[in-house]
């Protein structure tokens, strides 16, 4: 007979997320943002898609329309993107990941001090440019936006289905260059729908301003819906 201190081999079955720590912190953040009435957007894409330029235009437009907003931007090194985003007039904080390929929820929570979240209508999180790793980390966002530029090739969504599938909406950037890059926009959209059926797609150019208004309208409507659900 086995003693009580030696129960023999056994199996503990459990369903517990490997990223439980991140998920718990993201849930805490979501509650915090929700209480402050701030709508949070996580922007993911590969490097060089034009996240920063697009976000600069978005922040500026929101401020002009009476919706002050703030932004975080994640990069392994340099403050370059924060400097560019600050030109919009919005408060911006750079998160230096020092080699880490994605943002995690604790990186957001540790950078919130000193900001009165209730002053902001939107918070944007420009993730590290990466088409694989960013997809598994919840940052407490309400909306995940994936960007695809016309310069990257129409088949990026097919090559990285995991990330494109994780997004709520998609933005095609640099559309002013589509012709010069011989980008087939219909094929790019078909590929987006192949990995994420029915995803809403915005065609834009931050340089010319094309499509920015439709995206702003979408954001405002999404926030209104979010506020309605809060009541």
């Amino acid at each position: 007979m086995k003693s009580t201190t030696d129960p023999g081999p056994r199996i503990l079955t459990l369903r517990q997320g490997i990223l439980k720590k991140n998920d718990q912190e993201a849930a805490r953040l979501r509650y915090l943002f929700h209480s402050a009435g701030i709508f949070v957007v996580n922007i993911v894409s590969g490097p060089g898609t034009g996240k920063t330029r697009f976000l600069e235009a978005t922040l500026k437009r929101l401020l002009e329309n009476g919706f002050p907003s703030a932004a975080f931007v994640g990069d392994p090194e340099t403050e370059n993107d924060a400097i560019r985003l600050k030109r919009s007039g919005a408060p911006v904080r750079q998160i230096l990941t020092r080699g880490v390929c994605h943002l995690e929820a604790t990186m957001i929570s540790s950078q919130l001090s000193g900001w009165n979240l209730e002053e902001f209508k939107f918070l944007f999180i420009e993730n590290v440019g990466n088409l694989v790793c960013t997809s598994n980390y919840d940052l407490g966002e309400n909306l995940r936006v994936v960007m695809l530029s016309v310069t990257e090739g129409e088949d990026k969504p097919l090559k990285y289905p995991g990330l494109f599938n994780s997004a709520d909406i998609s933005i095609i950037t640099k559309c002013d260059l589509a012709k010069a890059c011989e980008c087939d926009l219909d094929l790019a959209k078909k590929n987006l729908h192949s990995v994420r059926p029915n995803i809403q797609i915005f065609e834009t150019s931050a340089k010319t301003g094309f499509g920015i208004d439709s995206f702003i309208e979408y954001l405002l409507a999404s926030r209104q819906e979010f506020i309605k659900n809060m009541e």
């Binding site: 030696d6 129960p7 023999g8 081999p9 056994r10 199996i11 503990l12 079955t13 459990l14 369903r15 517990q16 997320g17 490997i18 990223l19 439980k20 720590k21 880490v100 390929c101 994605h102 694989v132 790793c133 997809s135 598994n136 969504p157 097919l158 090559k159 990285y160 289905p161 995991g162 990330l163 599938n165 994780s166 729908h193 192949s194 990995v195 994420r196 059926p197 029915n198 995803i199």
Partner: protein, 113 residues
């Protein structure tokens, strides 16, 4: 993917679970990883060999890879698309956004004494 950081998450939680459930040592940690998570199993296993320590020093990491599956609203059943970049029912060829599996990143079980 950042396999080392994932291995650290697995190791820390498994160590804590081993304590909580009174294991003297863990022989196997079984996890489920969805196709859409972009995890490279061979690298994750290498990271595990570097990290395992304490009650988990002799443990092996078992990875169950979970394929992407969809619910097809037309065929009214769960199906596996032929590949992860074309989310269509292989039978009726209609696309479906109702994913049923492929995003798992979770523990399945711990085996030990």
């Amino acid at each position: 993917m950042h396999e080392f950081s994932l291995a650290q998450n697995i190791f820390e939680q498994a160590t804590q679970l081993a304590e909580e459930h009174g294991f003297q040592r863990i022989t196997a940690v079984k996890i489920r990883v969805g196709e859409f998570c972009g995890v490279e199993s061979a690298i994750l296993l290498d990271c595990w060999d570097i990290l395992r320590d304490g009650k988990l020093a002799d443990s092996i990491l078992l990875i169950e890879n979970i394929r992407v599956s969809l619910f097809c609203p037309f065929c009214q059943k769960t199906v596996n698309p032929e590949n992860a970049w074309n989310l269509r029912c292989p039978e009726c060829l209609e696309s479906s956004s109702e994913m049923r599996s492929g995003r798992e990143l979770e523990f399945d079980s711990l085996e030990g004494i």
